[in-house]
Point group: C2
Chain length 273, copies 2
């Protein structure tokens, strides 16, 4: 999916909703079997229910890998199902990162074999660990400023010039990464950080987790992060949608929560878009 | 495997050799089928041939994930095979890292479901992304100073006090991580870095890649990194052993290369061990 295609979907739906698929057997509706198959069925049902509202889906690979080989079979089924929604961006939330020739193997497996449009990647090992993910027609989504407490440990620590590490990482991204194939992860739990990241990277799309359960709000994210015209945001919600109801009405409840989030986005939609 | 058990193996064999399993279809001996099954067969044959010399094995997950679901089936077979060598430490080179509840899922999948003794992890997201890997009886192996060119991009950049980022990461590791359950990755391509890491972390085991194809030598690593008594090193070799021969004699050639590396280690073995 190209940047122009993604923006067209965002404008058509007036939505920047990314649904995070973090399926947990302990929280799934009771009628799904507690198996890898059941996990995949649950994800596919959530996708079908929320497709009118979402522009992107983001399975987190950890929740599949937790089940071993069966979990990868479930992930492949979810990836296949996402393939039947070609107008939605499919993101493997994998946070991979390794030396160049090894990163190429991750890219091959997740972007080509499983067929995801995009993959999240971690920057600690530097440029050669990131570049292999920019395959033709695919996206890399690199960690910038994350939403978890551990962001304080390194990302927010000061470098020699007094600016935090994450700002240096973003400087490097601006040099290395085309906005046509790269996005950056910026947590919603730090709206002041989000505004400074937007000032540093005026063109790149941001993938923004942390709205809802982690405490960020759609309004803050839209105000601090939106680019006029292109929007430049994907706002992720996982648990709030997946577990909106634990009963037989889970799909309707997930759709209603997705619709509510999109209405919230539309309330704060920049005028000029 | 406990630290005491690992040290006992190292002293019994007078070896700190970790064999890295980065199986590549383009480089495997010709008689293995170019399938995930063939890839697993190749890894198992390498394990059997080198077991008298090695104390640890380290499959890199990227080379398995490259094949999609079949690759995970191959990885599970290799993990099972490693289970039949309980005196060798099995390391999943996965470089995972995500927020706390998600890291718990990675730990569950790779350490419990697949049964690896240890997993490599990346630090960018901080403490809550690392701690879930220290499961009872298991090891986390955290990136410190890596051997690739990209280590210059962030790890070697100066923080506010003039010391490089990786030194701050190691300070944090010293506070967070028990040497009984945590190791640190330190590349062999920077022996001066290795000595300074050892000065900072006098007790932790180091997993050292970069000997051989990447340019580091066993002598430099032993001199800069060994701890008297405990040794405190695992020196990894991947391509030099796996592709010692592309012919029918690949297993003998792999064993001979492993034996040669161990002899090199023994030449530089600290006297007091």
């Amino acid at each position: 999916m190209t940047r122009a295609q993604l923006i067209a979907q965002i404008q058509a739906k007036k939505s920047v909703l990314c649904v995070g698929l973090d399926p947990d057997m302990d929280k799934m509706p009771a009628h799904f079997p507690r198996t890898a198959e059941g996990l995949a069925d649950f994800c596919c049902a959530i996708i079908d229910a929320t497709a009118p509202y979402a522009v992107a889906y983001k399975p987190n690979l950890a929740f599949f890998e937790a089940l071993g080989v069966g979990g990868w079979q479930a992930l492949a089924r979810v990836a296949d199902h996402l393939g039947s929604y070609p107008h939605h961006l499919s993101i493997a939330d994998a946070k991979r990162g390794d030396i160049g020739n090894t990163a190429t193997k991750y890219a091959q497996g997740i972007l080509n074999e499983l067929g995801f449009d995009a993959i999240t990647v971690a920057p600690y090992m530097g440029q050669d660990s990131l570049q292999p993910f920019a395959l033709p027609g695919k996206w890399g989504i690199a960690l910038g400023l994350t939403s978890n407490p551990g962001a304080n440990d390194f990302q927010l620590q000061s470098m020699a010039d007094g600016r935090p590490l994450y700002a240096h990482v973003l400087d490097a991204y601006r040099t290395w990464m085309s906005p046509e194939q790269w996005m950056v992860v910026v947590g919603a739990t730090r709206p002041e950080g989000l505004a400074s990241v937007r000032a540093q990277l005026p063109e790149h799309f941001f993938l923004v987790p942390g709205v809802g359960a982690q405490g960020g709000t759609v309004e803050e994210v839209m105000r601090a992060g939106a680019i006029s015209g292109d929007l430049g945001l994907l706002i992720n919600s996982s648990r709030g949608i997946l577990y909106a109801s634990a009963g037989d009405d889970f799909a309707e409840a997930a759709a209603a929560e997705a619709e509510r989030l999109v209405a919230d986005m539309q309330t704060h939609w920049p005028d000029e878009v």
